[in-house]
């Protein structure tokens, strides 16, 4: 990764033409050949960029970036304020939080986050329409079927409704209460759940992991 803080101007010719007048900017050249010109605004988005594959010709105070599609970015370097290069680690990829199986495992371990006094009887409890994520018991001994989603939407409520319909037929379990758990429950899903007598609860993955919470909670 080469980073250049420079007073520069640039012209781009390709799908369209554009010009950047002279100003101090950050020019980023990635190891894969991508070139991007950033200003101090605009979040992640560069003012101008060329995706790899590119070829960069360094003519001293002028860089010419071309690609096979015939696009051409010319950067005039009027003054170089900083020029550094670092070797970055190879990409490890982005890990998305809130994976359902992790949520399910954590909630099975700490069912009190769903409801005070709840105990988990079984994960992946079988019904003939597929397994419901958690089967729990409340302090009064009532069965509670829990469906866990990362984002709680209407289809998750529908799914839980189908499981509940099957579970109610089991004389050892019935009556079974439904509980819909997600890190975020969409408003439509809340309405649908409530209209069907299904409870919903939003759970905080960070708290569940105990990462943000050095102080454990009572419930």
């Amino acid at each position: 990764m080469r980073l250049l803080v420079t007073r520069c101007s640039a012209t781009y010719d390709g799908r369209l033409s554009s010009t950047l007048s002279e100003a101090v900017r950050l020019v980023m050249v990635k190891a894969d050949g991508c070139v991007a010109i950033h200003a101090d605004v605009g979040a992640y988005k560069p003012l101008n960029w060329m995706n790899a594959p590119n070829s960069l010709t360094d003519e001293g105070d002028r860089w010419v970036v071309t690609n096979p599609k015939g696009e051409r970015l010319v950067i005039e370097l009027h003054e170089v304020l900083e020029d550094v290069s670092y070797e970055l680690d190879t990409d490890r990829g982005l890990t998305l939080d809130g994976v359902e199986s992790e949520l399910q495992a954590l909630l099975a371990e700490h069912p009190a986050h769903l409801e005070v006094g709840l105990t988990c009887v079984q994960r992946e409890f079988r019904t003939d329409l597929g397994p419901v994520d958690l089967l729990c018991r409340d302090p009064d001994g009532g069965a509670v079927a829990v469906e866990v989603k990362r984002i709680g939407e209407i289809d998750g409520v529908e799914q839980l409704t189908r499981y509940l319909e099957r579970l109610q037929r089991d004389p050892l379990l019935a009556p079974v209460r439904g509980l819909f758990a997600a890190t975020t429950v969409r408003p439509q899903a809340r309405v649908l759940a409530e209209s069907r007598g299904i409870g919903w609860v939003e759970v905080d993955l960070g708290v569940l992991r105990g990462e943000e919470e050095p102080h454990p909670r009572l419930f």
């Binding site: 005070v116 006094g117 302090p139 105990g210 050095p214 102080h215 454990p216 909670r217 009572l218 419930f219």
Partner: protein
């Protein structure tokens, strides 16, 4: 309106009404105190739409009437008045307030803009408690309520009236305080009362003394103390089923001098301060409890306090602030700490050596911290 009031009574009334309601003003009229003169008394009212305060004082009335005056300004003025009767004359747009040689003209607001909040219904069932016992119960319990508006139900105190007793419970999810008290006149029902309002009610109970009347209604609760009334809206939502959290057994029981433990805790906690979530570890061994805290930047501290221990010794770490809160709540010279292991909630209770002596029916449940 034209009236003459005794300065101290008038100042206390205005100050109580404005202070009790607080400063969360959303409408200009809410910054006002409504003064209503009639039938030989002056009624001062203030509200922020959540809490309503009302106080009546005897005054000499020449002309009845009602005016809405800026609360804070009025409270500041009358607090500094000389010790002489206060006279109020005029209508809302211009009220003359005089006391001794001082005369003020205050521009009021439209009295009609003051929201009329329903007081308790005449026939609503009311319970009665001793004011000092009520205030004590609130001070013991409300401290455990959360201040995080993100979880509104935890900012309230769950008040349950049943079987001749009133039970108050509050939790911020790290600790739970529960206390019961006998009614003088009992009612039945439950309410989730904002902790702040309840603390104001307790303050008024302490000031007025005697007994406090509690009226539980749909959506609101009123507290009556002599000529004062505080009505507050209830918090919507269901309070956690805290009874399921209360442990029914313990492995180790510790009795310790409260003041000695609290003082040692405060000393040791100084090292823990400055670093959020630094616990103080308590190690219970033969005849003593050793407190220890370590802060990587500042150093460490340790102190031992004599204690009577029944059962196995163990180590457990707490947030020092929460533990201190529990010790303060118990109120007795000696406290009992009941423990199961280092990771399960501990219970603090008041302790009297004389088993015949009465103690407050208080349970303070405290979640320990993990120590890495």
């Amino acid at each position: 309106m034209k009236l003459r009031a005794e300065r101290t009574e008038f100042a206390d009334a205005v100050s109580w009404a404005t202070r009790t309601v607080g400063a969360r003003v959303t409408l200009p009229a809410l910054s006002g105190v409504l003064l209503e003169a009639g039938e030989g008394k002056l009624v001062c009212r203030a509200t922020d739409l959540e809490v309503a305060a009302e106080i009546a004082i005897p005054v000499q009335i020449d002309e009845p009437g009602r005016v809405l005056l800026p609360g804070r300004l009025l409270a500041q003025l009358v607090a500094r008045f000389p010790d002489a009767p206060v006279e109020l004359t005029g209508e809302s747009d211009r009220v003359e307030i005089s006391c001794g040689r001082a005369t003020f003209h205050v521009r009021g607001m439209q009295a009609e803009d003051f929201p009329s909040l329903a007081g308790p219904a005449e026939d609503a069932p009311s319970g009665r408690l001793r004011a000092d016992a009520f205030a004590r119960m609130v001070s013991q319990v409300a401290r455990a309520a959360s201040t995080d508006e993100g979880r509104p139900v935890l900012t309230g105190v769950q008040v349950t009236a049943a079987d001749g007793r009133i039970t108050a419970a509050a939790t911020d999810s790290y600790r739970l305080a529960v206390r019961s008290l006998d009614f003088e006149d009992a009612i039945e029902g439950s309410a989730l009362v904002p902790a702040r309002s309840l603390q104001e009610a307790a303050k008024a109970a302490t000031e007025v003394g005697g007994s406090v009347t509690i009226i539980l209604e749909e959506g609101q609760v009123s507290f009556l103390f002599g000529d004062r009334r505080l009505t507050t809206k209830l918090i919507e939502g269901s309070f956690p089923n805290y009874r399921a959290l209360l442990p029914d057994a313990h492995e180790t029981s510790v009795v310790v001098e409260r003041a000695a433990l609290a003082e040692a805790l405060q000393r040791v906690a100084i090292v823990a301060m400055g670093q959020a979530n630094t616990p103080v570890t308590l190690t219970f061994t033969d005849g003593s409890v050793e407190l220890a805290a370590t802060n990587q930047e500042m150093g460490d501290a340790a102190e031992a306090v004599p204690a009577e221990i029944e059962g196995d010794g163990l180590s457990i770490a707490f947030n020092p602030g929460f533990l201190l809160g529990g010790l303060e709540a118990t109120g007795t010279d000696r406290v009992r700490i009941e423990l199961r292991d280092g990771l399960k909630p501990a219970v603090l209770r008041p302790h009297q050596d004389d088993t015949e002596a009465a103690t407050d029916d208080l349970t303070y449940l405290l979640m320990p911290m993990r120590v890495s």
